[in-house]
């Protein structure tokens, strides 16, 4: 077409990248703020999708007052030594039922006395686990009078 043919060829100038650091920094800050470092290396199979789902969940407040108990099948590389039955993990090692009492006491000793009544125990358990082991853990927690517990669950995104 005539009009188009007349259009002279424009040379594109180099795109200014001066604002690139700003953009990257912006994204960087977003991730820095939203990030939570994983405190323990999991020795058991427990991906996010392995947690049960629920609708009536609450956010866990005051993370510093939470002690975690993980339960699930040992990872592939540990199955030779520990078998495939669900195991308990406290901190970064496998543990037995009887260790829970000590663990709770140790966790309690680390905290301020005034904060002890607000301590919560979060149970992160694979959804395929049988309740037997959970019941035993609950009994241990009752013995240690760590009565506030939280069954870790994901938000259910509709049915």
């Amino acid at each position: 077409m005539a009009v188009m043919g007349k259009k002279k060829k424009k040379t594109l100038g180099a795109i200014s990248t001066a604002s690139l650091p700003d953009i990257v920094f912006m994204i960087l800050f977003f991730f820095m703020v939203s990030t939570t470092m994983r405190e323990v290396e999991l020795l058991i199979e427990l991906k996010g999708s392995d947690l049960p789902t629920a609708t009536e969940i609450k956010k866990l407040e005051k993370k510093s007052l939470v002690s975690y108990i993980y339960v699930g099948k040992p990872l592939q590389q540990y199955q030779k030594t520990y078998g495939t039955e669900p195991k308990i993990q406290l901190n970064s090692a496998f543990a037995e039922l009887s260790d829970i009492y000590e663990y709770i006491l140790a966790e309690r000793a680390e905290r301020d006395e005034a904060e002890v009544p607000f301590m919560t125990t979060s149970l992160k358990v694979h959804k395929e686990t049988k309740m037997g082991i959970i019941t035993d853990i609950k009994q241990e927690l009752r013995k240690a009078s760590a009565l506030k517990i939280n069954y870790s669950a994901r938000q259910d995104m509709g049915y």
Binding site: T17, L20, P21, V24, F25, I27, L28, F31, M32, S34, T35, T36, M37, R38, G48, P52, T53, A54, T55, E56, I57, K58, K59, L60, K63, V66, T120, S122, L123, V125, H126, K127, E128, T129, K130, M131, G132, I134, T135, K138, Q139, L141, R142, K143, S145, L147, K148, I149, N150, Y151, S152, A153, R154, Q155
Partner: protein
């Protein structure tokens, strides 16, 4: 004094540094917020305390979950989770006439509400088999908590014309007094082996 001009700092590597940090945080980030169902375990009974507290049968809503995940309430099968929730709601609800099948009620005065309100003596008891899966157990727990939340919401709308979440602390406390969450996780029992 002659003003010495400071040479401009070359900022072109800034982007690289920022990218490096960004990638580090991208890799280490886990976005999950810890969420879950809050529960309070019953304390271990004292030795000299009588372990079995006599509770009138009509005041107990006994939920059993067996190893296959089947639910029964007061010895009747429950087919779906919705049915369980509806049943639990009917059991907790105090805004009704006296019924010998449903828990006893008493009238109490609650701070923040002028007229006396009825509250029931009902208790939900949840028992599971050792072979029940954890996922199923949480589903049932969730339904029971949901029943309480719905009932509390209804009460909040009735007394304060607002949903429960929008009430202030004292009002929430008042609603909690009318509908205390009484879900007992009973002592474990072993029904018919693993």
């Amino acid at each position: 004094m002659a003003k010495r001009s400071t040479p401009e700092i070359n900022a072109s590597s800034m982007a690289d540094i920022a990218f490096l940090l960004l990638i580090f945080f991208l890799v280490t980030t886990t976005m999950d917020v810890d969420t879950g169902i809050q529960r309070q375990l019953p304390p271990i009974p004292e030795k000299d305390q009588k372990t079995d507290v006599e509770v009138n049968k009509r005041n107990v809503y006994q939920v059993l979950v067996n190893s296959r995940g089947t639910i029964s309430v007061n010895n009747h099968w429950v087919n779906s989770l919705e049915e369980l929730r509806e049943g639990a709601k009917e059991f907790i609800n105090c805004d009704r006439a006296d019924d010998p099948e449903l828990p006893e009620m008493e009238e109490i005065m609650v701070e923040g509400i002028k007229t006396p309100v009825k509250t029931s003596k009902g208790l939900i008891s949840l028992q599971n088999d050792r072979g029940t899966t954890y996922g199923r157990y949480i589903e049932v727990q969730n339904e029971l908590v949901a029943a309480y939340n719905e009932i509390r919401n209804e009460a909040a709308r009735k007394y304060f014309n607002k949903p429960y979440d929008e009430l202030n602390d004292e009002q929430q406390e008042a609603i909690r007094k009318i509908y205390p969450q009484r879900i007992s996780e009973a002592e474990p029992k072993n029904y018919g082996g693993k």
